[in-house]
Symmetry: C2
Subunit: 189 residues, 2 copies
């Protein structure tokens, strides 16, 4: 008994390629056959590794979640400072090279606001992590309620600006507003 062992690395490698494909093509074009063709494998290979399509979405969101949470690690350097944390968050997310990734991120919202629970869970995890980072950035001596309030507001503002940035071509206007917002935080904190 006990034949060939499961190749977990193979699945992870396929999953990363699928996430890249999703970032580039969006969710709507995410069918077995096109993905398999892009990866140079057969659809049955993908089905074998990921089961149903719903399970594949779950795997994609899990991996994407990991990536996005990792990209927001250690927002503050040494000192705990909300203003620098917010600025770091903005700069890490607003770069043109990450636009495709955040396009997919907001596509998750589009899906989460309809039925399936998996997309909503994804957002809860990611946003909760970012909230924690921005709460920590305010230091231990601030009122927890206001810390939560401030973190919520900062995330909401940045996310709203990001949506603008991705949806419009008016990058200057958005970056100007973002700069003003971050300056406000520096003045206040």
């Amino acid at each position: 008994m006990a034949g060939r062992p499961v190749d977990h690395q193979r699945r992870a490698q396929l999953l990363d390629a699928i996430v890249d494909y999703a970032i580039e093509h969006g969710f709507s074009e995410l069918s077995w056959r096109p993905v398999a063709a892009a990866l140079g494998v057969s659809t049955t290979t993908l089905v074998h590794h990921f089961g149903t399509k719903e399970q594949m979405f779950e795997a994609i969101l899990g991996r994407l979640r990991e990536r996005m949470i990792v990209s927001m690690r250690d927002l503050t350097g040494e000192q705990a400072d909300l203003a620098t944390a917010a600025r770091a968050a903005w700069e890490r997310t607003s770069g043109p090279e990450r636009a495709a990734e955040f396009r997919l991120f907001f596509a998750v919202y589009g899906r989460a606001l309809q039925a399936p629970r998996q997309f909503a869970e994804f957002l809860e995890h990611v946003v909760a992590d970012w909230m924690g980072a921005l709460r920590d950035a305010q230091g231990p001596d601030v009122d927890p309620a206001t810390a939560t309030r401030t973190a919520t507001l900062v995330i909401a503002t940045i996310r709203g600006l990001l949506l603008d940035l991705l949806a419009t071509c008016d990058r200057d206007r958005i970056e100007d507003a973002a700069e003003a917002f971050l300056a406000t935080l520096s003045r206040a904190g």
Copy 2:
């Protein structure tokens, strides 16, 4: 020559029903057959009035745009005041009875961030209108650049909070943060 005249009212009536269906079911379930079944007509009736599916999406977005712009008319009462305008904007958008509508609104973002131009155009029109309203609310005597900056920021914050509100179940946290944000505007303005 000249036979039966075109019944424009019939088309408008069908379109409104389709928009309602879209608000309730989202874009992904927006196929000829289910919509026709829900409306109690045949698919050919819809095809006859709207042509291709892309044209139907265009019609839906056009009607939805009208609705959303109308819902934000006259944010300020008599006096031009950014704080009251922002508060009015928040209160008009955050109500639970409009949640379904804004779910679809953010679903537009999800699509706009991928290919098709029509969704991006929709957002440009709607956001431009809201921007204008919030710029006007600041009165004629403020610097146009800062007025644009402020309007951008207010819209971004409200939109970010709205996304949070729709995606999470933590309504209290969001409304608390929104209240703090609006209070800030009142203090500043």
